[in-house]
Symmetry: none
Subunit: 207 residues, 2 copies
DNA sequence: ATGTAAATCAGTATTTCTACTGACGGACCT
DNA sequence: AGGTCCGTCAGTAGAAATACTGATTTACAT
């Protein structure tokens, strides 16, 4: 089987590295190396490709946009994304866009080879960290309002299904004080009750 | 690196097949083939193993139970589960139990070899269908099996930070009824309060 | 037809949470 | 020395949630 492969990265050195890596496997034929998303799309439009390996961060277009346009033009094109992001939102968007592999840059060599082979066989490959994110489910990495240390402490105990009284006992403070912290948490998170606090905790990875 | 491997399956023919498959890779040393969960646990207890490849369906113990006990005895033991189940719940439980690979029986040969190599390198491997389940899990609602439609409805409204009274108004039912649903939700999710319900909703993608 | 499960509703009691007002000492910064 | 934020605590009130007891109707499957 001959696997026509397109490499996309804005650093020439990376492109060369990828090519030499792929040369270890006869099945892969690197038909082009390009350094921008638009060049990549041009190739996809004009040539029948099997696989694209692309960086996520690029000058003219981010990886997500490239993947979406590529998939809309060539739904059968396999796509492996190289990235240094372990950010849940980025990963989630890419997975939903239909990529077949996601390899963190810190691994590359051996693991990328594994990834391309898996993908060639119709499988999908994610770096270990990505699998963790998948398994755990995904939460956004957003900065929220500034909670004080004590408030965060209370919130974390709240997440363990403790009542205010139990939290007070655990922190050796009065129930009143815990209620004050809760009150401030409600205000700072613009929520109207316990549900909002838990949702905030999830959204901010305080789980 | 020498990878001490234990094979678990209640069909001798499968065990033989696995062994011959692994013989293709010098790194793996099959130190035992057993046909039941309890025999497997005995080996894990007495020997220092690196990898266990196990069937999911077995006479004395299901795969999930085996995995849990194995992991509690030997947390560093890598585990690959062979199964014909593509059922979401089964998969989810196994993943949360900490397995490193899940290969559907319909693939076995080439793919299993891929899987063991990935796992040997510290990675994780899932069959394509499993990846789909994982991805679906992050985008769509994977419902817990035991909740009724109405309970799910109430839970979803609860997640929108509505009080029981507001939910009652929205569903044109009495506050009492909403409280009954909440009570049943608490029981079914083994939680002690609102926090637990929200956490359950997140864990089951009812957000 | 009989049984099981779901969905609906009620009373009573207790606990927990939220709303409001107000306060005091300490740390830190200017 | 004065301002601001943090963490601490209090009283009073009411709203909401949880714990227990139950019940009726409908619907669906055995």
């Amino acid at each position: 089987m001959n696997y026509k492969t397109l490499l996309v990265d804005d650093h020439a050195i990376v492109l060369d590295g990828l090519q030499s890596l792929l040369s270890e496997d006869q099945d892969f034929e690197v038909i082009a190396k390009v350094n921008s998303g638009n060049f990549a799309l041009a190739h996809i439009r004009s040539t029948s490709l099997s696989l694209m390996i692309t960086d996520y961060s690029m000058p003219d277009m981010n990886g997500l946009e490239l993947v979406r346009q590529a998939k809309s033009m060539a739904p059968d094109l396999k796509i492996i994304v190289l990235s240094m992001h372990e950010d849940g939102q980025v990963v989630q968007d890419l997975l939903l866009a239909g990529i077949d592999g996601y390899v963190l840059k810190k691994y590359t060599h051996q693991e990328l080879l594994q990834a391309v082979r898996v993908v060639k066989q119709g499988g999908q490959y994610w770096s270990p960290e990505i699998n963790k994110i998948l398994i755990r489910g995904i939460s956004k990495a957003e900065e929220g309002p500034n909670l004080t240390d004590r408030e965060i402490e209370v919130l974390k105990l709240l997440m363990q299904e403790l009542t205010s009284k139990e939290i007070a006992g655990k922190l050796f403070i009065s129930e009143r004080t815990v209620e004050t912290h809760r009150k401030n948490l409600l205000r700072k998170t613009n929520s109207s009750g316990t549900v909002g606090l838990v949702k905030y905790a999830y959204a901010n990875k305080l789980v």
